[in-house]
């Protein structure tokens, strides 16, 4: 009996860690492309997630009002919509703002912080200051019990599955597609890529937009876990940056590994300590490791 309890606790704890891992990874994937590959500090990354979340809110409330029969599927369609809208906004942001600042990374940081403030205000004016939570379809609610005493929430499984899917797609895009080849070439050597006929400006714009689109998907997925407010994006931003930096900026595998490590550390410390102390300890650990090993877990093989 006692042994089964402990087993159950370990299983639940493991699941909590995995769930946090998928959340962190989904958050960081878009940034891994934008910051890791392009080297652009997008402080408005969290707001692109919020765009995704509000898109879900808008889609599901519209579907409920006008097409109630579609309601169970509208969530899946809305995730596509979240990607598209975040993609378009990201494309515009790159065109209007980011492309002027590629040579000044620290200034990009300030400008995108400004962008994030502006977006927060726009959210507040449009959707109100109160937090909203979209109607989650019924098949995402509740939990299932594979064994007696183990409760696994379905929305956690859904986020995990989505993370797996998005990570897979990003991998294929980056390492098996024409666009991925262009991105990696541009990252490796911009001048040479230009010389062999890659339109690097176009690649930049598309890369940034895709990164933002993935952020939109992440935000959409998070609506199943928590509610969305105008400033919820700012909660994610430091975590996302730390995940990407800790993993070694240019490495997608590193991002996955660091998201896993951070999630497990945090969920294990959370078991023994209060939430805020667990957060402090985890962050402190990451910062200390980054100070000792600034290149992160998986260092890119480039000469500095």
């Amino acid at each position: 009996m006692a042994f089964e309890d402990i087993g159950g606790i370990i299983a639940m704890q493991g699941f909590a860690g995995l769930s946090l891992f998928s959340v962190l990874l989904l958050m960081a994937l878009g940034l891994a492309i934008i910051f890791g590959q392009m080297g652009v500090i997008n402080m408005a990354h969290g707001e692109f997630m919020t765009i995704g979340a509000y898109t879900i809110y808008l889609f599901t409330s519209l579907a409920q009002a006008h097409l109630p029969s579609l309601a169970p599927y509208s969530f899946v369609i809305a995730i596509g919509g979240a990607f598209l809208i975040a993609f378009v906004v990201g494309y515009l942001a790159e065109y209007l703002l980011i492309r002027h600042l590629y040579r000044r990374p620290l200034d990009t940081l300030l400008a995108t912080w400004g962008l994030s403030l502006g977006m927060q205000q726009i959210f507040r004016s449009t959707f109100g200051a109160k937090e909203v939570s979209p109607e989650v379809p019924e098949w995402l609610l509740g939990s299932f019990q594979p064994v007696e005493g183990i409760d696994i929430p379905i929305n956690g499984v859904f986020v995990m599955g989505l993370t797996l899917l998005v990570t897979g797609v990003v991998f294929i895009l980056l390492y098996r597609s024409r666009w991925g080849l262009c991105v990696r070439a541009t990252v490796a050597n911009r001048t040479m890529s230009n010389a062999v006929g890659i339109n690097t400006k176009k690649v930049d714009r598309l890369t940034f937009a895709i990164g933002c689109g993935i952020a939109g998907i992440a935000g959409a997925a998070f609506t199943t876990i928590g509610s969305t407010g105008p400033t919820s994006g700012s909660l994610y931003i430091v975590d996302s940056f730390l995940v990407v930096t800790f993993g070694g900026a240019a490495s997608l595998l590193g991002t996955i590994a660091s998201a896993f490590g951070i999630a497990q550390t945090q969920s294990i410390t959370e078991f023994f300590l209060t939430g805020s102390m667990a957060k402090v300890l985890t962050l402190l650990l990451i910062v200390t490791i980054l100070m000792i090993r600034p290149q992160g877990l998986f260092a890119a093989k480039i000469r500095r």
Partner: protein, 417 residues
């Protein structure tokens, strides 16, 4: 760009603008504003310490720290801890279940003063801690990162994470730090009531004197070899390193110095406002402090003060009257300063106001300038020149004259027109 920036460095320049700033702080503001507004300005001026530190660190050193709020907060908390202990003597806290400890500790069921609070009963220790703790933290962070040649973006992200850690820690440890509310109800400094009007005047002036002093010290640092080296390592770090300098040590020094400036600002903030809370420590205030320096001009010590004042006036005004507009305006400010005016107000002053002023001045003095310098360039002056120059240049042809004259004379002449 570089040639434009260099004049800001030269030691004989900029004293006038510091005197003007002192006049504004010490004479103009007290005359124009009542004590309530003046106290508000005093609060802004305590932020200006951070902005001045950032000019050194970011403008000249090229090191962007997004964690200056940490040092501001540490300084402020050191001062607040001392004041809080003084305010919670056993007599005035006798209604508590444990008299003699700060009220928030009592609310959190603490029955004794935590050990790390004990030494803050003594002002000298509190003042020392206010300077030493931020500097020590800055030293540890700086030494860990600059020695490993971590800079730029990574440094910014890590300092930001430190800001997050400290604010989460302060909020989480409510019993020891006062939590979200911070340390409030500060009353006296060594028996001197800091809430009276006269105390507010005195603190305002003390703040002003310290700020001007800090600017003078920074100006001295920048006009010394250190300033030159900072600029050099911002622009071409490797070359400075190859010249035999230990780049990391200079960066660490500037980071620690800026941290101490922030701490002084934080302590003055606590004294003038009467409380300290984690809302001045986290990520958002830390980035806002960067925008103070950016708006004022990241290369101008005096500009940073004006930038701080302007942004905060704007914030107070807009968040009172048009709360919806403020964030949008702030967004425009961030983007505009970065895209349009990288050198901020000071840059605009240097590139637009000053030349315009000079043009205006020269237009009235033109005859004088013409008399002294125009010789040789204008046709009707040529005979006079030949006569004046006399025999040695008697054979000089028109081409000879034109070859020698443009160098000193023509630039002035052209700009005068």
């Amino acid at each position: 760009m570089t040639t434009k920036r260099l004049p800001l460095l030269s030691p004989e320049r900029g004293l006038g603008s510091i005197i003007a700033l002192a006049a504004v702080i010490f004479v103009l503001f007290p005359l124009v504003f009542d004590i309530f507004r003046l106290n508000l300005i005093g609060k802004y001026l305590s932020y200006a310490f951070v902005a001045v530190g950032l000019v050194l660190l970011w403008g000249y050193g090229g090191i962007l720290s997004l964690g200056q709020g940490v040092f501001f907060g540490l300084g402020g908390y050191c001062m607040a801890m001392f004041l809080k202990l003084e305010a919670s003597d056993p007599v005035s806290t006798k209604i508590q279940s444990t008299p003699g400890i700060p009220d928030f500790m009592d609310w959190n069921q603490l029955t004794a003063l935590p050990a790390f609070w004990e030494p803050f009963k003594f002002l000298p220790f509190a003042l020392l801690a206010m300077l030493v703790i931020p500097a020590a933290l800055a030293y540890v962070m700086g030494a860990a990162m600059f020695k490993r040649r971590v800079g730029g973006v990574y440094f910014a992200i890590i300092t930001q994470a430190v800001a997050l850690i400290l604010s989460v820690l302060i909020i989480g440890q409510q019993g020891y730090t006062g939590g979200v509310n911070g340390i409030t109800d500060l009353k006296t400094l060594l028996g001197w009531d800091i809430r009276t009007e006269s105390a507010k005047y005195i603190l305002y002036y003390a703040n002003g004197v310290l700020l001007i002093g800090a600017i003078l010290v920074c100006r001295h640092l920048l006009s010394s070899k250190l300033g030159m080296l900072l600029l050099a390592l911002r622009d071409k770090e490797d070359r400075v390193r190859f010249s035999g300098y230990d780049v990391a040590n200079f960066k660490i020094f500037v980071f620690c110095f800026a941290a101490m400036l922030c701490a002084v600002g934080g302590a003055l903030f606590t004294l003038q406002v009467g409380f300290m809370s984690p809302s001045f420590v986290g990520i958002v205030p830390s980035i806002e402090m960067v925008i103070f320096a950016a708006v004022g001009g990241r290369l101008s010590l005096v500009g940073a003060v004006y930038g701080t004042l302007l942004v905060n006036f704007g914030k107070t005004y807009f968040s009172e009257t048009f709360p919806d507009l403020w964030l949008l305006l702030m967004a425009a400010l961030f983007i505009g300063v970065v895209l349009g005016f990288p050198n901020g107000l000071a840059g605009l002053w240097e590139s637009h106001v000053k030349p315009w002023w000079r043009r205006r001045g020269n237009a009235t003095r033109l005859p004088v300038v013409g008399e002294a310098r125009q010789g040789g360039v204008m046709a009707d002056d040529k005979p006079a020149l030949r006569e004046r120059d006399g025999a040695p240049v008697i054979n000089t042809t028109a081409s000879g004259v034109s070859a020698m004259s443009p160098s000193p004379a023509s630039p002035t002449w052209r700009s005068a027109n």
